[in-house]
Symmetry: C2
Subunit: 466 residues, 2 copies
């Protein structure tokens, strides 16, 4: 992914200044100067490196996430931010146990599997049953209720890479709702081809849910190579009418309500009466990896951008940084934040939670009166290779509740998601996947936007929702 | 790797025929016609798919390798080869147990590790000790004997991708001789950055050895992301003078002498008095993956090439196919073959055991009187994008003993190894890594060479070794 950086490194600060100089700013918050400075940023990578190295995996509700909060408060204070604190909340916690899968007949071999979040266990002895294969979620939906009694249902999919990550919406239901459907069809257990796009023996975890009244059944994700191998085994076995049997051992546990927390820091503005700019990421990660892409890098990016502003003096508006807890396991941090801060004066919400590859598009959800700000941002981002044609901004997971409750304006800086679902929720989400040059482009994009909106006195209040 | 195929698919059979038609052959064994036919081969992929799907991992000396031999004998008979049989032999067998590693202080997190072949165990309780870091094998060699008492030695390296795979020779000693050196320095255990080039959380296994008189110590390979993370942890901890401690649990076992075997099949020639052409691969794989690259594909390639010849009638010389057993764990199959067949009349030995990517170079070790054959082969391979400038052929692992004992001529068809050490000995060595187009180029190269040498009456006897 290195060559992406050539788009912006070729561009000198002089050229940027030319593009942006038509707008009058306090020299210290000049967007062009801040953009140029941010392209040399090292803080975002430093934060990503620190969290992944000195904390590692930080699953919500565990002692590892608590260590991550301690590390974060210390780091944000050391960086000179104001009002740094942890805002604790409680949330239900599920933890992984042993997890193994093997085909026992007719082609005995081990498969790489991981339990989905909220899966019940199989017991230590495991279960062994015939596998029933479906080439899509729709195919499993089509069979009669009860027809999968005593069987392990197996659903595959055809997710491919997409820059905007849209395959996740298309195939995500295999993970999100598939387990409950398999249960309704009577299945003993449910396994899926991981919702991902890489061919490594690293399965993708992620949450699932069983609605009220649906019996939870053990459910796991096979790595893509394993899922394809199982599919081939089933096709060969079918020719001779042999069943394929699988033994599954999953021993996860619910450990009840545990403490998580949101880490908050601020760059206080000159005018507290103006609404805040809220910039978010999430601090927790899945347990299988050190969560570099998801989402240490997001925390690094938003924080480094805020630091670029802070280093040039107070902006007009307060910038609030939210490193949310417990995103992966149910957006508990975003819910807790909205509950605690609905009454506070927010203007715009933004989030970075889609990896660390370059921003390629800016999207807006701004009121009519902010039209000039929108155009200014679009112009200011052009030197970074960022276009502005796209759908309306919808915001990130951790700010969705406060957006809803406060009817907030939104700006999205969309990252290139082409390889995001190679890494998402797998053991492979580690620091080595981070391209420092692309992270710098992210920080430059964020710094540019913040330099404009945090200094704007435009009223960002959205019209009432219909 | 798909675009590599464009080199040869653009070339029609007509063009090949033009290049090769100057040599007179029985029409049925015309190299150009066989090359064109082999470019459409599906058998090599079919064998690779069958072994990886219907058998899976097939570690030497285990029941899985026995199942692989059964599958192979049945398959080779069904394909119509002659004298298909299994030649059993006994070999010492080591099997993997549990394997976990975690940093316990100051940055607690789990690391992905796998035991190296022949490692003793730590006991189920494991060992916990301070990690001592070395940036190279030379650095560890330089410390005094006994200085690592009570410590876990950790050696990293800088292996990068190389088309000819030469990094393995440079950095392989970290795995091959490092454990014995660590033991001599007094270390309690030894961990390495896997000898590989990929950044996935899949460690690379492989054999190691402790010479007579050196106490075997537990020894494992971390995945590259884990090794780099450990290195960073150590560097951070050093700043505050804190030791990094690791807990290591490895419970492999030696299970004594077990049966392995060489599977052999032949295309019998018209003249039994002419020396055979021996073409080899190995049937066993490491236990962590289904061994698609290493070396099901090699068996597929040599067998599909022999089938191309067989399908056009008997060649002058017998072609003997050797699917060797127990290569990974000490070349036991090659040793057993040499012991059993040193007296047999072999002419030339060849092997395919470097993945499934395209052949880019042919190398020779032929007697002076075979000069014209060599030139003919070099010409005939040009349409496949294969050059002939390179070092002398040295043969593959499974034929090295028979080459030595019989002083055989050798031809090497060198495969592109750029991504070989991404997959070698890891869980990631699975069917999805195989590019069918590149496999077809391999089969075409092998078929071309076989069509020439198996029909040549040149005396391939090498001059006596000095």
């Amino acid at each position: 992914m290195k060559n992406a950086s050539s788009l912006f490194t070729a561009m000198g600060a002089a050229a940027t200044a030319l593009l942006l100089s038509s707008t009058a700013y306090a020299a210290t918050h000049d967007p062009a100067a801040i953009q140029a400075s941010a392209l040399k940023d090292t803080l975002a990578y430093e934060i990503t490196e620190g969290l992944t190295t000195e904390v590692g995996p930080r699953q919500a509700g565990t002692e590892a996430e608590a260590r991550a909060r301690d590390w974060s408060v210390k780091k944000l204070k050391a960086l000179g931010f104001q009002n740094v604190r942890n805002e604790p909340f409680m949330m239900p916690t599920w933890v992984r146990g042993d997890e193994t899968a093997e085909v026992t007949t007719p082609f005995p071999q081990k498969l790489h599997i991981t339990a989905l979040g909220n899966s019940p266990g199989t017991g230590e002895a495991g279960i062994e049953a015939e596998v029933v294969y479906f080439d899509s979620l729709a195919a499993m939906k089509a069979v009669p209720d009860g027809s999968l009694a005593g069987k392990i249902a197996f659903v595959t999919h055809n997710m491919h890479r997409a820059q905007d990550g849209s395959g996740y919406g298309t195939y995500g239901p295999v993970r999100w709702t598939g387990p409950a459907i398999a249960s309704q069809k009577g299945a003993l257990a449910y396994v899926i081809k991981s919702i991902g796009t890489d061919y490594h023996r690293n399965p993708h975890t992620g949450n699932t849910n069983f609605p009220e009244g649906v019996k939870p059944i053990p459910t796991g994700a096979l790595s893509l190579p394993d899922a394809d191998n199982l599919e081939r085994m089933i096709k060969v076995a079918q020719k001779s009418g042999k069943p394929v049997k699988m033994k599954l051992v999953l021993t996860p546990k619910n450990i009840g309500q545990q403490e998580s927390g949101n880490v908050i820091a601020e760059v206080t503005g000159r005018d507290p009466s103006k609404g805040m700019i809220l910039i978010a990421c999430h601090l927790d990660s899945w347990d299988l990896a050190t969560g570099a892409f998801d989402d240490a890098a997001g925390c690094g990016i938003v924080t480094a951008a805020a630091k670029q502003i802070m280093d040039q003096g107070k902006p007009l508006r307060t910038i609030r940084i939210l490193w949310a807890g417990a995103e992966e396991v149910g957006l508990w941090g975003g819910k807790a934040y909205a509950k605690a801060h609905t009454g506070s004066n927010h203007a715009i919400a933004m989030e970075s939670d889609f990896g660390a590859d370059k921003v390629w598009r800016v999207q807006f959800h701004l009121p009519e009166q902010a039209k000039a700000v929108k155009e200014q941002i679009a112009q200011a981002l052009l030197p970074l290779g960022i276009g502005a044609n796209g759908p309306k901004a919808s915001g990130g997971a951790d700010v969705s509740d406060i957006i809803d409750s406060n009817n907030l304006a939104i700006i999205d800086l969309q990252q290139d998601g082409t390889r995001y679902f190679d890494l998402h929720h797998t053991p492979d989400d580690t620091l080595d996947k981070i391209d420092p040059k692309q992270v710098q482009q992210n920080v430059a994009a964020w710094s540019t936007v913040l330099s404009i909106i945090a200094n704007s006195d435009v009223d960002f209040t959205m019209p009432p929702k219909e």
